[in-house]
């Protein structure tokens, strides 16, 4: 008798706990829904291309991108990627791809600089992806990245030509690329001799490391270098810049001073005509701001 009473009351308590837990979960779900709706409705999310994702979000998105492409590329059988194909591909590449991706020793145009995600350096991509994994995104494009689908512009055969060229890029020096007829003289698209366009209201010529950090996104530096404090593809096209503030030489040839860094950032091919670091039409002010940020990386 006593035992049964106790069992009943345990049963009742258990039921009450279950109801409470159920209500709490329901309330939490509703609160999250309202929160998410408010987050969207009141525009809390900053869509600026210079406001990079947080590292975990970037990593997850990148993983989703890689997995999606790898999954779909599995069924694609590449044809032989001959040098003739690569040469055909180079001609297309120079007309349609270099604007955003650049080429060995050739900088991207302005349109390819301030994008998020930053269009990758394809010499780096070619080192880590299969031919089919290069083919798929060219043919189908990639949502929300700026990468268009080219299947209504080029035939599959032409896309394989482009792939053939890209697979050769990791073994191509800037001099090789120039010798093929790539990278003809290009004019700066705007006046880059004086102060930069978007910084008119501030006392000129005072280097601002925070703005410099933004400029590292704005000039797509993160497409080729690992730079502490930035989120990006972590590509090893050029050397990682951790500790660059304490490095003795820049580019292997210049003593590392503030002025030399500015010079190197603005006119790398004047400092070293052989370099793969491209001229990106960096303004004096932007270079000073970037140098100020890089100086802090001890």
């Amino acid at each position: 008798m006593n035992n049964r009473d106790r069992q009943d009351s345990i049963q009742q308590i258990r039921k009450r706990i279950e109801i409470h837990v159920g209500l709490a979960i329901a309330a939490l779900v509703v609160a999250m829904g309202v929160g998410a709706a408010g987050f969207v409705y009141w525009g809390a999310y900053n869509v600026s291309a210079l406001q990079q994702h947080t590292e975990p979000v970037f990593t997850l998105l990148n993983l989703a991108l890689d997995r999606s492409i790898r999954q779909r590329a599995e069924e694609i059988e590449p044809p032989p990627l001959t040098p003739e194909r690569a040469e055909q591909g180079r001609l297309i590449y120079q007309h349609k791809c270099v604007q955003c991706h650049g080429a060995p020793g050739v900088g991207r145009d302005d349109v390819g600089k301030g994008m998020t995600p930053v269009p990758p350096n394809l010499a780096h991509t070619a080192k880590t992806k299969s031919a089919a994994e290069l083919f798929w995104p060219i043919k189908h494009g990639i949502k929300m990245t700026g990468m268009p689908s080219w299947q209504f512009t080029f035939t599959d055969e032409q896309i394989w030509d482009i792939v053939a060229f890209i697979t050769q890029m990791p073994e191509m020096s800037p001099a090789d690329y120039r010798a093929m007829g790539g990278g003809e003289e290009r004019e700066p698209t705007r006046d880059v001799t004086t102060a930069s366009a978007p910084a008119p209201t501030r006392a000129a010529a005072v280097p601002d490391p925070e703005r410099g950090k933004l400029a590292l996104y704005g000039y797509a530096c993160i497409a080729c270098h690992r730079i502490p404090g930035t989120v990006g593809p972590h590509a090893d096209v050029g050397p990682p810049l951790n500790g660059i503030g304490g490095r003795r030489y820049l580019a292997g040839v210049l003593p590392n001073t503030f002025d030399n860094m500015v010079q190197w950032l603005r006119h790398p091919t004047e400092v070293n005509p052989l370099t793969a670091m491209p001229d990106l039409d960096v303004t004096q002010q932007d270079a000073m701001d970037m140098a100020a940020y890089l100086e802090t990386l001890e």
């Binding site: 993983l63 890689d66 997995r67 790898r70 350096n121 010499a123 780096h124 080192k127 880590t128 992806k129 299969s130 994994e133 990791p170 073994e171 191509m172 020096s173 800037p174 001099a175 090789d176 080729c224 590509a235 090893d236 096209v237 050029g238 050397p239 990682p240 951790n242 500790g243 304490g246 490095r247 003795r248 030489y249 580019a251 292997g252 040839v253 070293n272 052989l274 370099t275 793969a276 670091m277």
Partner: protein, 120 residues
């Protein structure tokens, strides 16, 4: 959206790293010998080199993940042959470079390259 998909999400990073598409054959040369040779030449007085005790020099760039680097010295495509050449005769790659010619023999350069290509 159940245990299965949760499992997949947890496993995905492993899969992603596990089946790297094209693992190139390692370059010729003996990485273990290369490690000793790197210490003997004192490469670490100018470069950070992971795996080499005391290699924390800040004259030239860090050699972390050097096997993955696209360009050497900012000018050469990173292949084992080019790396060995750069180590032996840096001035032929870039006449203005601060990297000195240390009189490294061909076989030593191969071994150093083999070691550096383990740094991914």
């Amino acid at each position: 959206m159940t245990a299965r998909s949760v499992c997949f999400l947890l496993l995905a990073p492993l899969l992603a790293t596990g089946c790297g598409s094209d693992e190139a054959a390692p370059p010729p040369g003996d990485p273990e010998k290369g490690r000793a040779i790197i210490r003997a030449y004192g490469c670490g007085s100018c470069h950070v080199i992971p795996g080499i005790p005391g290699a924390d020099g800040r004259t030239g760039p860090s050699l972390e993940r050097i096997a993955k680097r696209v360009y050497l010295a900012g000018v050469l495509p990173n292949t084992p042959d080019d790396m060995a050449r750069w180590i032996r005769e840096p001035e032929t790659v870039d006449p203005r470079t601060a990297m000195p010619n240390m009189g490294v023999s061909e076989s030593d350069a191969r071994d150093i390259t083999a070691y550096l290509y383990t740094r991914k």
